[in-house]
């Protein structure tokens, strides 16, 4: 923190110390703690090398200058010195490599996990699947677009908050199986000391064991397209008993939420649900007012597709756009009810007053056409 104060003072900044750190965040797993310590060790070693080497150089600049009347000596090699300054760095490197090797082997030993969670990266959200417990959900950014676009109330966790965090028990070795649906993403939570790329078509693993309950935040670390900066990760660690309670509650709601696919929904209910789905999935491109972004993302408000061509509308939401890769195929990610709701919403929101109601069974029928 002292370093930061000095720096800010130098730049004529008011000497305030905000919450942000200047170092790796507080580690909460053994691995993250080891990384923290190893980084500090390297910082001390490289710092001393820098001070030592440039101490010598600045001493020479001060004393061996022409304006100080110094005459140049004409030596231009010294084998002993050259061998010494090749060997010493080599020895320092060996000293660094030793603890680093030990830590790498530890990071890679994912055996003996007590809980396995499958993590799938989507453009631009994360899907978590508790393989053994039948709980699975999508985790979206929960910061509203209004906070991003205007200087509206930005909370402390602006851009680092999600609707449904990953919940894990403390003191348990949790293993993640990582994969991706579209492009490469990277699952990163600094305080856990875990960063692992999620690669489409392949499976990778990573593990962590959290010491104490708390909420730990991270972000996608691999450029994955437009909203790469807007797919955070939140991990909530709970004591094992609390975790079991959370899991039981989750399983209960999951069972309750199994919807009857043939239920016929009234327009108002579909609109309410559709607005929620729209805000989570569509608003980043098509915008809250449905106007899109000219040149990049088409408007829905008043568009021919959202007011007239109903089969085309269902098709593009289910299967994505052939022309614009940014329009994903939502058929894999959303339930029939969600898709029915969001299409109904799009056909009745803003200036679109078609009065069309799309029911889940329509979507089910449309899935048969092509997927």
């Amino acid at each position: 923190m002292a370093c930061r104060r000095v720096l800010l003072l130098l730049a004529g900044w008011p000497p305030v110390v905000p919450a942000a750190g200047v170092n790796l965040p507080l580690p909460v797993t053994a691995i993250a703690r080891d990384i923290y310590d190893l980084h500090m060790l390297l910082l001390y070693i490289t710092g001393s090398i820098f001070v030592l080497v440039f101490g010598v150089m600045f001493w020479a600049i001060l004393h061996h200058r022409k304006s100080a009347g110094h005459q140049a000596k004409h030596f231009h090699e010294n084998t002993t010195v050259e061998i010494v300054w090749t060997l010493i760095p080599l020895l320092i490197l060996v000293a660094m490599a030793w603890p680093a090797t030990r830590l790498i082997l530890l990071q890679k030993s994912s055996a003996g996990a007590e809980l396995t969670i499958k993590v799938t990266g989507y453009q631009w959200k994360w899907h978590y699947d508790y393989l053994d417990d039948g709980v699975a959900f999508m985790s979206h950014l929960s910061t509203p677009q209004s906070a991003i676009r205007q200087v509206a109330d930005r909370g402390e966790h602006y851009l680092l908050e999600v609707d449904q965090p990953l919940v894990v028990p403390t003191g348990t070795k949790v293993r993640l199986l990582l994969t991706a649906n579209d492009v490469i993403h990277s699952w990163w939570v600094p305080q856990l000391g875990v960063k692992q790329d999620a690669i489409p078509g392949f499976v990778r693993d990573a593990w962590f064991k959290v010491d104490r309950p708390g909420t730990y935040r991270g972000q996608c670390a691999e450029l994955c397209g437009k909203d790469h900066g807007f797919m955070p990760i939140v991990v909530v660690a709970k004591a094992p008993a609390d975790y079991q309670a959370w899991l039981a509650a989750r399983q209960k709601t999951a069972a309750a939420n199994l919807e009857d696919p043939n239920k016929v929904w009234p327009l108002a209910e579909l609109m309410a649900r559709g607005e929620k789905v729209y805000t989570q999935n569509c608003v980043a491109c098509h915008q809250a007012g449905g106007k899109g972004i000219p040149g990049a993302f088409p408007a829905l408000d008043g568009s021919a597709m959202a007011t007239k061509d109903k089969p085309g509308h269902i098709d593009i939401v289910l299967n994505g756009s052939k022309k614009n890769a940014a329009m994903a195929a939502w058929g894999k990610q959303l339930s029939d009810t969600d898709i029915a709701a969001v299409i109904t919403y799009e056909r009745n929101a803003w200036g679109n007053h078609t009065g069309d109601v799309v029911q889940p069974k329509d979507i089910k029928a449309a899935r048969g056409g092509k997927a």
Binding site: A20, H64, I184, K195, L223, G225, G229, A296
Partner: protein
């Protein structure tokens, strides 16, 4: 003996009227003179540096405070992508080729570059490529490429037409730099004046030679991998698509097999330049010339064995991580030798601190900061935390801005008298240095803290905890950018109105280019001189030689 014969034969025929200095636009369009082509390269590189710099300022403007103020995220990604591509392929690489064009024949006593017409072609390929990247690709539907300068698949297979233009531009620039490299290699190997043996060549010639070999080795690899992206995009191949048996990580392996030597393509010529300037202004020969040559070669060879340290988070087996970590750490040894040699050169010298020397010392200090953060990053266990964060952004800007760019400024100030026959303004030169030094550090030093604290790179918006350092970096970036206008004004003004320069304006300068008139005659060394040469190209005696 071949060297003499070739040197006696001007590379472009002996028609008597050919030696008149051509005039008008034709002089540049049909240029075959190495000095003209060198100047073209340098002006091109400078204008690309300005374009790339404006893109950087667009990025920094958006990051000045949290929230989206100026650009949509997609456009922001286009800026970061194009900033990287333009600075690497448009600014730094052509600038070094331009300097090599200007200085190599003068340093080794050659009449011109070996292939004068190919030289013309390799320059004139660049403007169309830049046009494709800059003007056209922003105008096509979907905008410019937005997959980062690394163009990772499968993200790059998702992009619009801008990606195809980028791939085409990379092909063109690759062809250009390969031809430039062939020219450099043939010139150095065949056109040295008698007495200029390999182990007495100036360090800049050595650095350019080794760099040229690196370029020839890896540019085809880059061309290959972007072509694979192209066929994946349009011709139904599945190199990087798992559904067809491909592997997205394969892209990264091939790309970084090019990408890591590329880092040294941008650093080795800088090492060469600094190895001229430090001895000149220390009035003392370069310390450890032989070990410098060996260190440069070993860096070049090692650079082919470390590529996967860019991919520690892709989930490699532990054995692969360990191999690439050890190999990467090993690069610190020859790099350290170079830094120690420069300090050994300064030690017991009689130093003075004109602008080129200031930039060279700035280079050594700040490049070493980048080197030390590089050692930290090479530790795979720590890299897990730092990969794809602002720490990496800080690291590579320390080696590329304070490294490559500062050495280029040093070189331009150092050779400006020889190129133009006039001195630059020393006051504004020093001002440019101190101004750049200050704001460079204000911009990039805080990025180490941002990366450590957890800010990923390539994001258009960030959490409030990162605000202060980002604001600071943005202020620094704008001031740094402003300072480059001082450089531009100084150069423009001195070109016309600078004090006339002596043939050897620097007391300690002893390589061949300082033995001839200032400004350098349009056709120098039409007849090769007989030289007695010491280490690092020091000329002890010169007999004969003729210019036009």
């Amino acid at each position: 003996m071949t060297a003499i014969d070739s040197a006696l034969q001007p590379a472009h025929g002996t028609a008597p009227d050919h030696h008149a200095k051509p005039q008008g636009i034709g002089r540049w369009l049909f240029a075959t003179n190495h000095k003209d082509i060198g100047s073209l390269y340098l002006w091109f590189a400078f204008s690309m540096f300005i374009f790339g710099g404006v893109l950087a300022l667009c990025i920094r403007a958006e990051l000045f405070r949290p929230g989206l103020q100026f650009w949509q995220p997609e456009l922001f990604n286009q800026f970061t992508t194009l900033h990287g591509l333009i600075m690497v392929f448009g600014a730094i690489m052509p600038a070094f080729t331009g300097l090599a064009n200007w200085m190599l024949p003068l340093m080794i006593g050659a009449p011109d570059m070996a292939f004068a017409r190919m030289n013309n072609w390799s320059f004139w390929l660049l403007p169309p490529a830049a046009l494709l990247l800059l003007l056209i690709s922003f105008a096509v539907p979907g905008g410019a490429a937005a997959a980062g300068w690394t163009l990772y698949a499968p993200l790059s297979t998702q992009m619009g037409m801008g990606m195809d233009l980028t791939i085409f531009a990379i092909h063109i620039m690759g062809v250009s730099s390969i031809m430039g490299s062939i020219n450099i290699i043939v010139t150095i190997l065949n056109l040295r004046a008698p007495g200029m043996t390999m182990m007495k060549m100036p360090m800049f010639a050595w650095a350019s030679l080794i760099t040229a070999y690196l370029i020839i080795a890896v540019m085809p690899v880059l061309a290959g991998v972007v072509t694979m992206v192209l066929t994946d995009r349009h011709f139904g191949t599945h190199f990087f698509n798992a559904a067809g048996g491909g592997d997205p990580v394969l892209y990264q392996h091939i790309f970084w097999f090019f990408g890591h030597p590329e880092v040294y393509i941008m650093a080795l010529p800088a090492f060469g330049i600094v190895s001229h300037i430090i001895p000149t202004f220390s009035r003392k020969p370069l310390f450890g010339y032989t070990s410098m040559v060996y260190a440069t070669s070993s860096i070049a060879i090692l650079s082919f064995m470390v590529w996967a340290h860019h991919m520690f988070t892709t989930g490699m087996p532990a054995t692969a991580q360990l191999f690439f970590m050890y190999a990467t750490m090993l690069i610190a040894v020859p790099t350290g030798v170079k830094v120690f040699n420069w300090i050994g050169t300064m030690w017991q010298g009689s130093m003075s601190f004109e602008t080129p020397m200031l930039f060279a010392i700035g280079f050594i200090c700040l490049f070493t900061v980048g080197g030390l953060s590089g050692v930290t990053l090479s530790i795979a266990a720590i890299d897990i935390q730092l990969q794809d964060t602002y720490y990496v952004v800080a690291h590579f800007h320390y080696v590329l801005v304070a490294g490559a760019l500062f050495s280029l400024f040093a070189a331009v100030y150092y050779w400006f008298p020889k190129m133009t026959g006039r001195m630059y303004s020393e006051f504004w030169g020093r001002f440019h240095f101190w101004w750049s030094l200050l704001w460079f550090n204000v911009t990039f030093f805080p990025m180490h803290f941002l990366g450590l604290a957890g800010m990923p790179r390539r994001i258009p918006d960030y959490n409030m905890q990162f605000t202060d350092f980002n604001t600071l970096a943005s202020v620094g970036a704008f001031c740094f950018g402003l300072g480059q206008l001082i450089f531009f004004a100084n150069m423009l003004h001195s070109l016309r109105h600078g004090r006339p320069a002596a043939a050897r304006p620097w007391e300690g300068a002893d390589t061949l280019e300082w033995q001839i008139a200032t400004p350098a005659p349009y056709h120098s060394f039409v007849e090769a001189p007989d030289l007695e040469v010491g280490e690092n190209g020091r000329i002890d005696a010169m007999h004969g030689g003729k210019h036009h």
